[in-house]
Amino acid sequence: MHIEVTQLNKHFGDFHAVRDVSFTIEKGRLIGLLGPSGGGKTSILRMLAGLETPTSGDIVFHGKRVNDLPPQERGIGFVFQNYALFKHMTVYDNIAFGLKVKKQSKEQIRNRVMSLVELTGLKGFEHRLPHQLSGGQRQRVAFARALAPEPQLLLLDEPFAAIDAKIRQELRTWLKEMIERLGITSIFVTHDQDEAIEVADEIMIINKGRLEQKGTPWDIYKSPQTQFVASFIGESTIVSDVSKLKGFEPAADREGVKALIRPEYIEIGKPHEFRIFSATEPGRIKQLHFRGSEWMVEVVVGDTTLITYRSLEKDILHPGDEVTVLVHRAYLFTDEESWIMENRLKEDPMPIHI
C-alpha cells in the first residue's frame, strides 16, 4: 500500500522520541529504517502499526487517514523482535490465529496455513509448540503468522536481532526473496548497516527522532546529505572497477557495477600478521591524517586509493611505506540492486593438515 507520513511527532513524557518525520513510501517497496539504538525507529514502526498513538502528525494509508484506526483494522502484519509467538498454541494455531479471528471456514484456514507452512519451510513442525523450536524456526513462524491474513503492509522490528550470526545471513536472504516474491510493501527496522544494504530497496536513516536521509543505498553512501549520515556510514571509498582488486574478480561479470568499500573492511599491516596471505596484495601508503583518536590512512593498491583507519597503538606508518592490504568485503551497487561481496580468496583453498 501507498504510505504517506506527514510531520510525525511522538513524546514519551518529556522525551521527544520522534521529531517532525515526513516521508512517502510507494507500493511494493522494501524500506529499511536504519539508525543507532534509541533513535526512534521502533517508535515510528509502532505508530504505523497503531500500537502507539502519535502526539501529532498524520499517517495516511492509500489516501485514508489512519491515526485513529486501531491495529486490528489497519491491515498490517507485524513481526516482533522476540517473535511474540503464542506460547500455548502450536505452530499451526499460531499461523491460523488471524484467520480464525476473521471467522474463515476450517477448510480455507487449512489451505492457507499449509501453504504458508510450505512456503516458510516448516513442513512437519505444524504441531510443535514454540518452546520446541529453534530461534530461526520461531522467526519463520512469526513471519508466516503475520502473512496469513494477507496484509497490505508488513512491518518487521529488528527481525534478526535475536538470532545467531550464522543463521542470520541465511534468514536475511530468505526474507528478501520471500518479500520480493509476494510483492508486499514492507518496512523493517535495523541497526545493522550490512543488513540494510543487503535487504532494502531504500533506506531511511533515523537519528535522535529525525529522518536524516531517505534514498537508495547507493545514494546514501555516495552522497550523504547530513553530518550524521556521513559519520554514520563512515568515509567509504568509491571504487569504479572493483574487479581489479584481488579477490573481487567475479564482480566483472556484472555490467556497470559500482563498489563502495567501508574503511573497517580494509586491513593493513605486515605480511606475517595475516592468516591468509594469499588473499592480500601489496600497497603503498600515500598519506596519513591524524584524527585525534586514530589515524586516517590513504593507501594505494594498484591504481585504486583506499581509505582506512588505524589505531594509535600500532606502529606508526609513514607515507611511502610498503604494506600488505586485505580487503574483506565490498558493497556492490547497480541501478536496481545492492549487495555485499566477500573477498573470494578469504576461504583458505589449501588448509594445512598437521
Binding site: G50, F78, F80, F86, H88, F97
Partner: protein, 264 residues
C-alpha cells in the same frame, strides 16, 4: 550439624502442627463416630456450615471476577496514569494490614442500623449489618488482595507482546483475553481461587463483629466453634473444627498442586 537442624525442624513441625491436628481428631471422637455425627447434625451446625458455604461461594466468585480485572488494569491499563496505578497498587495491600475485627468494625460503622446508608436499606427491608450482606461484605474486604496479588506478577512476567501481536492480527480485546491472556494466567488464577476459598472459609474476627453471631441466623462454622468453646461444649467444637480442618488440608493440597502447575 545438618542432622541437628533437620531434627529440630521436624520437632517444630510436630509440636506446632501435627500434634494439634491429631488432638482435634481425637477430641471429636470422644463419644465415637455417633457423637461426631450428632454434633454435626445439630440444626445450628447445619445452618452454620450452610452459611459458611454460601459466603465462600459468593465471595470467591465476586473477588475472582473483580480481582482478575483489577490486576489487568493495574498492570496494563494505559488509561490510568502510572502514578495513579502505583498508588492504587499500594492500597490493594491494605486489607492485609487491617485486623479482621477492625474490618468488621468499619462495616458496622458505615452500614450499621444507626447510619444513613444502613437505615436507608433497613427501611427497604434489606438488613446489611447483622445479616448475610454485611458478612459477605466483610469477607470480600478481607480476601480482596489475594487474587490480585497472585495474578499481577504473572501478568508482569508474560509481558504485552503476545497481546500486541494478537491485535495486529485483527483480534479485539475480548477475543485476545480469552485466547491469549487467559491461558497464561490460568494457573495463577486457580491458585488465587484456592487461597480465597481458604481465607473466606476461615474468616472469623470480621464476621463475628458484623454478624452478631446470632445462632441459626447469622452464624458461620468458625463463629459456631467459638460459641461452642465458650459454652464448654468441647465435643461439638472439635467436630465442627475437624470438618473445617479436613477441608483446609484438602485446600492445602490443592494449593500445592496449583502452585506446581503455575510455575511449570
Amino acid at each position: 550439624m545438618k542432622k541437628l537442624w533437620i531434627t529440630l525442624t521436624y520437632a517444630v513441625f510436630t509440636i506446632l502442627i501435627i500434634i494439634p491436628l491429631v488432638r482435634i481428631f481425637i477430641g471429636s471422637w470422644e463419644e465415637g463416630f455417633g457423637g461426631f455425627v450428632d454434633a454435626l447434625r445439630r440444626p445450628q451446625s447445619l445452618h452454620a456450615l450452610y452459611m459458611t458455604g454460601l459466603i465462600v461461594v459468593t465471595v470467591t466468585f465476586i473477588n475472582t471476577l473483580f480481582g482478575v480485572m483489577l490486576a489487568l488494569y493495574l498492570v496494563r491499563a494505559t488509561w490510568l496514569s502510572k502514578r495513579l496505578r502505583q498508588l492504587l497498587n499500594s492500597i490493594v495491600d491494605l486489607p492485609f494490614a487491617v485486623s479482621p475485627v477492625i474490618g468488621g468494625l468499619m462495616i458496622v460503622l458505615l452500614l450499621g442500623p444507626n447510619t444513613i446508608i444502613g437505615s436507608f436499606f433497613g427501611d427497604l427491608g434489606f438488613k446489611v449489618v447483622y445479616a448475610l450482606p454485611g458478612m459477605i461484605l466483610a469477607t470480600l474486604f478481607v480476601t480482596f488482595p489475594l487474587m490480585i496479588r497472585e495474578v499481577m506478577p504473572v501478568l508482569q512476567e508474560i509481558g504485552t507482546q503476545q497481546e500486541e501481536a494478537a491485535s495486529t492480527l485483527g483480534a479485539y480485546p475480548f477475543y485476545t483475553f480469552w485466547k491469549v491472556t487467559w491461558p497464561s494466567i490460568r494457573w495463577g488464577v486457580i491458585y488465587g481461587v484456592v487461597l480465597t476459598v481458604a481465607r473466606s472459609m476461615g474468616e472469623f474476627g470480621a464476621v463475628l463483629v458484623v454478624s452478631g453471631n446470632i445462632m441459626n441466623k447469622t452464624q458461620t462454622a468458625t463463629t459456631l466453634v467459638y460459641q461452642d468453646v465458650e459454652n464448654f461444649n468441647v465435643l461439638a467444637a472439635n467436630s465442627v473444627a475437624l470438618v473445617l480442618a479436613a477441608v483446609s488440608i484438602g485446600l492445602l493440597l490443592m494449593m500445592e498442586w496449583a502452585k506446581k502447575r503455575k510455575e511449570h
